[in-house]
Symmetry: D2
Subunit: 335 residues, 4 copies
Amino acid sequence: MTVNVGIIGVGMIGQDHARRLAGGLSGTRVTAIADSDAARAREVVQSLPGASVHSSGLDLIAASGVDAVVVTSGGPTHEEFVLAAIRAGKPVFCEKPLAPTPEACLRIIEAEAASGRRLVQVGFMRRYDRGYQALKQALDEGSIGAPLLVHCTHRNPAVPPTFTRDMSITDVAVHEIDIIRWLLAEEVKAVSVMLPPRSCNAAAHLHDPQLLLLETTAGVPIDVEVFVNCRYGYDIRCEVVGETGTVSLANPAAVSFRSGGTVTDRLPADWRERFAPAYDTELQEWVNSVRVGEASGPSSWDGYAAAAIGEAALTALESGERTEVVMKERPFFSG
Amino acid sequence: MTVNVGIIGVGMIGQDHARRLAGGLSGTRVTAIADSDAARAREVVQSLPGASVHSSGLDLIAASGVDAVVVTSGGPTHEEFVLAAIRAGKPVFCEKPLAPTPEACLRIIEAEAASGRRLVQVGFMRRYDRGYQALKQALDEGSIGAPLLVHCTHRNPAVPPTFTRDMSITDVAVHEIDIIRWLLAEEVKAVSVMLPPRSCNAAAHLHDPQLLLLETTAGVPIDVEVFVNCRYGYDIRCEVVGETGTVSLANPAAVSFRSGGTVTDRLPADWRERFAPAYDTELQEWVNSVRVGEASGPSSWDGYAAAAIGEAALTALESGERTEVVMKERPFFSG
Amino acid sequence: MTVNVGIIGVGMIGQDHARRLAGGLSGTRVTAIADSDAARAREVVQSLPGASVHSSGLDLIAASGVDAVVVTSGGPTHEEFVLAAIRAGKPVFCEKPLAPTPEACLRIIEAEAASGRRLVQVGFMRRYDRGYQALKQALDEGSIGAPLLVHCTHRNPAVPPTFTRDMSITDVAVHEIDIIRWLLAEEVKAVSVMLPPRSCNAAAHLHDPQLLLLETTAGVPIDVEVFVNCRYGYDIRCEVVGETGTVSLANPAAVSFRSGGTVTDRLPADWRERFAPAYDTELQEWVNSVRVGEASGPSSWDGYAAAAIGEAALTALESGERTEVVMKERPFFSG
Amino acid sequence: MTVNVGIIGVGMIGQDHARRLAGGLSGTRVTAIADSDAARAREVVQSLPGASVHSSGLDLIAASGVDAVVVTSGGPTHEEFVLAAIRAGKPVFCEKPLAPTPEACLRIIEAEAASGRRLVQVGFMRRYDRGYQALKQALDEGSIGAPLLVHCTHRNPAVPPTFTRDMSITDVAVHEIDIIRWLLAEEVKAVSVMLPPRSCNAAAHLHDPQLLLLETTAGVPIDVEVFVNCRYGYDIRCEVVGETGTVSLANPAAVSFRSGGTVTDRLPADWRERFAPAYDTELQEWVNSVRVGEASGPSSWDGYAAAAIGEAALTALESGERTEVVMKERPFFSG
């Protein structure tokens, strides 16, 4: 069985996913796209032989030639499309955020529960990165004993002028928020934010860098440096400290240079280079899960948790105070 | 168009390729297999829905449901199957060695030339490894200036009792022989072999480790340490030294440990772990080349060159003397 | 001129310093020792030809054959001996802590100021480590732009049963407290402490590990992981994050192993191995400063600042609250 | 006892040693210098309080205020001064080469033997480097099993116009020649040289880079890349391959940078930076050995062996042939 996928929103990430689904991945093809920018949709469809353009996301979801839906439109539109896909009984892969507010995420969880089966996967691609997977495996095998602390850095060379103050948390730290929950298999219960001096390279409306301090229900502290104007490269690091050792992400350079007085390993230029294989694996596994009819991967609950923790982090940033995360009890049905 | 592949020989590597072609790769499926061990063929076919078992490789090549052929049978049988595929006008992917002797390889080159188009790709998968590709890119971009020397190590933890003396060259160093030709875009003109003391962990009939010294037509020396009983891990290294710097393969560990008094990066256990992504890319690119009807990748000429250099290396090993490689002029038609 | 040194307290660190001053260093010798344990003093003096044993520290300080004094006795005795050395007009090298309380440190600062010249050096040896010196140089040269955050870890494999709860701060984190002040040339203004789950390898009366969060007057946050039962090795790390890059201590392994499936760099076993060259340099520079009659190195003010910050950290540990550091204005005369 | 040292030859390395002996080292002082350039001697002596200038090296050796002699004059003068020191019964530290020819070295060995005790130490400082010492320790402890091969590189960024063709061997590879003998505790029995294309950055009269291939009496092959115009930095590497693992020199960077798209470790600028601590240790141990009256360190036999192997290497370079090393039997008396 080949999975016929419809994609709603064909901006940068949507085009990336279209290319993957139409080209490199197995057992799938792109049959439909939709975009609020009709001209863009008509252009993108040129490189997708056999795909049609739909006038709206809802139309695409309803189309008979669409078995499963990828939502890569703007964040505020996610809820509508995901709910529609659930109503149509079609599996849906939604880029993060699942929805902009915890409340919206809860509505999705409820609709999915009412539908009787898991249909939603959220695009937290780091869970498919071989580095994080090796961290997870090391933890699960007990290679370092019980985890006690985690140190993270998330550095981007630069951000565009459209980048808002909150995005350091909602678009950037959200990846650490999800991966920590996954690595430790625990919820985050509180967040504090420390504000270093602003980098001279950061726009005046940003707090950049910042230091988030998360605490899990078991009391594990996680420090997350978020620095989106670090200039020097895209640098994602994570060290989990356990009772008998630590395990850290390695720099994924394929080669090492000796030149100009130094031994040099290149860093990835950006997240697309750094996580390209993770995106491949993520979508392939989603396609596979659609084929076997059994959702796996980050669930709507994970989308909700990230939104709730992000909300607490924004409050902490605003207030300067340690802020407790407000979350519902996890329902029995939540993937 | 989906490429229907038939696989001749479903031992370990054949099964690996079958799994890739049937599962992870895009635009292809396995429709036929054959194996001299009929029972094994019947067992392997269980996990290949839609594939049939053929009574012989030649039969498989002739089958109408087979668009392209993978030859993963024993080395001595390669020539027969590759020639048959050429005669049938079907693209053929042949695991190394293309054939056991330079003469046999030449017969294949001639048949292919007579057919009027490139049909053969040889399974030198390292060319698809991201490490070697980054080396190649660095060389091509002039990052280190003109290459002057190359240092290689090829270490395996252990080999089975069936491993013969010559295999250190024909099955092991052959990978360096090919990759050096590809990296430097030059032929190898001479080979010497130095014999260190035999490791206490090596069987008495082996020369292990050994140090091969290759020279290219431009005079670049390449030292290749081959050590197939190094015990500690699978360790492939390559440093190209240029006029202004050097570039080396990095150890591909995804994470780094701190434990037991050390900072530790794990090495791959074996070639399957180390080169799994390269095999994926290699076969996907072969499938893609079949779809567009234009062969790429290592050619029958590359198979011949590896055989000729390997032959010189065996003579050098035997005689203790520097041995010149005997090679035909490269024909105009040779990929 | 040879500097005749008297050493008060010849426990482990005192014997280390005696060995250095009597043996490896230039321009100095040990002429006198004293210890509250007279038997130990008599034993240690055997390996110090030409040195005499004094019945008390005060006696030693007064002796005519003593040009300068090293105080390596127990912390609570430091104040008395340092004050006596100041009164005698003799340069004094005092191991950290200068004195157990900020008030006692202030009394020393006042006595030294009244004497009209700097006589006191405190034993913060990390300032003489080539790693920290390279960090300092990189900062001073502007290699990474203005510093914005610092990440530190201080891990010991284990501590003896006599190790008390407060020592994680007063004996361990005190090194980071001093080095941060020195690297950034700023005071620390506040401290918070986060308490992870206690390691199963830590005694029940300890908070181990713990995460200290310092803030400098310019607002630079410094996270310091203190983990004195980490089991795996002695691991000191420090990364300073600046506006255009970061600089970190490298692991000081002299060689790298490939064995047992891994690439392995050994970590130092303990602080003596890790900082032996720093201790050598520290004491040699102290001797040199005595010879030229001009104190350099960590001053009594640095000893006071460390005590004041340590006091705030202990309050923060106790209360769970962010605690401001209470410090006097720095007097004009303070090294 | 303080060792009064006289230094013959106060060019760059002689001044370095003078500074060490007069300043940083323990138990010694410089009391006399001599140089064929009298003006230079008068200038250098300014910074050596208490030292006198002698009109000749022989005069200095004879002086009553000189207990031991350092020979850092030009290579061709070494034999005369070393022999004179032996005749005077004074310990002598001679920079490499001990003498330019094996024959001259043998005359020194004979004179020393006739004197009845070891008086000569040759300046092979690498034996005092903590990296090579850790290699040696690993070998002696059996950490990697019996050694089977060694890979070395010796790269300099550039050489002055006065650098001659032979110096790649006599002044550069000589360090690897000595250290290999020391690490493996074996003699070198044969040498071959492979000549890569000449770097465009090397003067036309040089063979640069070159690849030396040494063989020990036990048959261990050692490849030594010598590249004195590598441009990018001073890069000394050594990997010993044993039956169960390997051990390599680590890059001795104290810190690591992240900047400009890379993770970067600085390489030493030159041999003075790389081996400064080794020179310190070497001379301190020599001073200590003089104080106890018992020579240690590289002996005149080591100087002879290096000269004999170097001679074979020059022949191999000239002839293009594998060349056997011609060496006397090691006399019973040879340190």
